[in-house]
Symmetry: C2
Subunit: 353 residues, 2 copies
C-alpha cells in the first residue's frame, strides 16, 4: 500500500508555522506532478532535461491553493469567521474554496464594472459574496486592509505572510521528486510572490541538507507587464497572460533578492512567445496550462543557449488551462474540417490516409 498524501501542511508540517492545535483547513492540495517534457528538452538539446511542475492540478486549479491552505488555516486558528481578498482571478477562487471548506464566509472585493462576471464564476459557485465598489483597485485594497484591522476578518491577499509559507512547499516537492534541486528554476513572475516562495523553499531544504545545491532562479515577465525587467512600475500593464498582468509587484524586493542570491535573471517574453509555448506544451507534451504559466517555458526557450549542457531545468506551470477556455478557442492551431461525406474513403482521405 502506498502512503497517502495528506495535504501539504501535514506533509511538510516541520517546515511550516503550525502546531498540533492548529485546525488545518485542507483540500489535499499539493503533490502535483513533475512531468518530464521531452519535446522541450529536444528543442534545447545538449542532454538538458526539462520538467514541468504542473500546479494547475491543485484543487481549485492553480498554485494559489498552496498559499491559501496556510492562510485560511491560520485565519481559523486566529478566530476569524470570514476571509476577504481583492482579486478577480485565481486568488479569489482559492480564497472562496478554502474559506467555505473551513466553515467561514468568503468575501471578494472588486471595482464596479472592472471584470466580466464569468471570471468570478468559480468564486461565486464556491459561495463567495462578491462586492463591487464604486472605486478602483487601490481603493479596494485599502478597504480590505481596514476591514481586517477592524473586524474578525482575515485578509488573504498577497500581503498575508502565510501565503508564501504555503507556496514554498512546491520547492520541497520538486526536490523530493528529483532527489536534489534542479540547476534552473524557470517561473512566471507577476506579483513576484511565487518566485520568492520557491526560493524560500529551496533555501530551507538546502539548510536541512535535503538538497546539495540551489537553483538559478530564472523569472519571466510578460513584455507588456515587465516592471522588474524594466526597473520601474508599469502604469498600464498589458498582456493576454492575465495572471501575470501586474504593474507593481508586491514582492518586488524579495524577488530581486532571490534572483541576485541565486545568480539568476529576469527576462521578458512577448505574448506571441507565450502563445507559442502554450501551444507547444499542449500539442507536444499533452499539458494544458494557463497562458501565464507558459511564460516559464517561453522564457526558457528564449534563453536556451545559456542553459548548461546536461542541466536539469524545472518550469513552473502555475495554473490549469481550463481556467481560460477563451484563449484555447482563440489560439489553438485550429484543425477543424467540416462537411466530410460520411464514408470510409472520404474520412480516410481527410485524415491523410
Amino acid at each position: 500500500m502506498r502512503p497517502i498524501w495528506p495535504g501539504l501542511i501535514e506533509a511538510y508540517r516541520p517546515y511550516l508555522p503550525v502546531t498540533e492545535a492548529t485546525p488545518v483547513v485542507t483540500l489535499l492540495e499539493g503533490n502535483t506532478p513533475l512531468i518530464p517534457a521531452p519535446a522541450i528538452s529536444d528543442r534545447i538539446g545538449r542532454q538538458v532535461k526539462v520538467y514541468v511542475k504542473y500546479d494547475g492540478l491543485n484543487p481549485t486549479g492553480s498554485f494559489k491553493d498552496r498559499g491559501m491552505t496556510m492562510a485560511v488555516t491560520k485565519a481559523k486558528e486566529a478566530g476569524a469567521n470570514a476571509v476577504i481578498c481583492a482579486s478577480t482571478g485565481n486568488t479569489s477562487a482559492a480564497a472562496a474554496a478554502y474559506a467555505k471548506r473551513g466553515g467561514m464566509k468568503a468575501f471578494v472585493l472588486i471595482p464596479d464594472g472592472y471584470v466580466a462576471l464569468g471570471k468570478l464564476a468559480q468564486a461565486l459557485l464556491y459561495g463567495a459574496e462578491v462586492l463591487a465598489i464604486k472605486g478602483n483597485f487601490d481603493q479596494a485594497l485599502e478597504i480590505v486592509r481596514e476591514l481586517s484591522d477592524n473586524y474578525p476578518i482575515a485578509l488573504v491577499n498577497s500581503v498575508n505572510p502565510y501565503r508564501l509559507e504555503g507556496q514554498k512547499t512546491a520547492a520541497f516537492e520538486v526536490v523530493d521528486a528529483l532527489g536534489d534541486a534542479p540547476d534552473w528554476l524557470c517561473i512566471p513572475v507577476g506579483n513576484a510572490g511565487n518566485i520568492t516562495a520557491y526560493w524560500m523553499g529551496f533555501c530551507q531544504y538546502h539548510q536541512e541538507q535535503k538538497c546539495s545545491k540551489l537553483p538559478k532562479m530564472m523569472g519571466f515577465q510578460a513584455a507588456g507587464a515587465a516592471p522588474i525587467v524594466l526597473g520601474q512600475p508599469v502604469a498600464h500593464p498589458e498582456t493576454l497572460a492575465t495572471a501575470i498582468r501586474i504593474g507593481n509587484p508586491a514582492s518586488w524586493e524579495k524577488a530581486i533578492a532571490a534572483q541576485q542570491a541565486s545568480l539568476g535573471q529576469f527576462n521578458a517574453v512577448t505574448d506571441d512567445e507565450i502563445l507559442d509555448a502554450y501551444r507547444l506544451l499542449a500539442a507536444s507534451e499533452g499539458v494544458f496550462c494557463e497562458p501565464a504559466s507558459a511564460a516559464s517555458v517561453a522564457g526558457l526557450l528564449k534563453v536556451k543557449d545559456q542553459v548548461p549542457t546536461g542541466a536539469t531545468v524545472v518550469c513552473v506551470l502555475t495554473g490549469n488551462g481550463l481556467k481560460d477556455p477563451d484563449t484555447a478557442i482563440k489560439h489553438s492551431n485550429n484543425q477543424f474540417k467540416p462537411g466530410i461525406e460520411p464514408t470510409l474513403a472520404s474520412v480516410a482521405e481527410a485524415m491523410g490516409f
Copy 2:
C-alpha cells in the same frame, strides 16, 4: 523523502496488461485525492463517513485519463501512428492529450453541426484534428470502427478494452487510501464503463486480499437519461449533466452484473437534485466538479436513509468543474452586490458587520 507517484501504469503494473517492453505513455495521471466530505456526512448523520474521489484532478480534467493512458500505451505498443474517437467531450480531450504525448496523431470524428466548437477547445489545443461528417453519431461510430480495421489507427472509444483496465485503478486507489473497500460506492452512470471498471478493480483487489470486503455499487443516472433504471434505451436523452447524457450505454450488461453481484442499486436523480448537490459540494466542501459528477452525491442524499449506520461511503466525482464554466455561471447562488460606496462603513455594512 516521499515516494513519487509514477503514473498509474507504473504504480499498478502487476495488475495491468503491460510488459517491461511496453512503451508507457503517461502524464502521471491517477493518485487523485480522496477528500473527506464532512458537510455531506452531516446531512446523513449516524456516523456515516463520506469521501469524494476527486478525479477531476487528472491531467486533462477527468477520469478518462485513467483509461486513456492504457489505451494509448497499448496503441503505441501495437504500432499505431494515430488514434481516433467519436466524442465531443472528455474522451476527445483525453485521447488528444495522450496521443500527442505519445507522438501520435489524434483524430476526433463528429457529426456536422452537432456541437459548439467551444466544447472541443481542449482537444483542438492539444492538436487533435477534428473531422465533421455529414451524418449522425451512429455513422461516425461505424466509420471509426472501419478506419481502425483498415488503417494503422487505434480506436480509443469505449469499445477499446484497455480503457476499463486503466479505469479500474481508481478502485485500487480508494482501497489504498482507506485501508479497505468502502461499504458503498456511489457513482454517476452514463455509458456505464466506469461503474464496470470500479467493480473490476474492487474484485481484483479483493482476490489479492488487498481488501476484506466488496462495496455495494450504487449507480445514479440523470432522470432524463436513465435507460438502466427504466430497463430500456432512451431515444432522446436529456439532462444538463452532459457527461452522462447517454440513452443506450455501451457497458449496460456489465454494469447490471456489477450491481447484482454487489447487491447494489441503480437510481435516477433529477437535474434539480444534481444542481443542489453541485452547489453543496462547491459551497460546503470546497470541491468544484462537473454537473454529471454531482449525480453521485445527489443520489447518495436521495437514498441516505438506506445507508447503514457508521458506514464508509465514497462518491466518485468524475470531472473538473472548470470543464463547464457556463453551468457554474448560470447555477451559482449568485451573491453579487454591485454599486457599493468605497468606504469602510459601506462595505462593512454590505458584508453584514
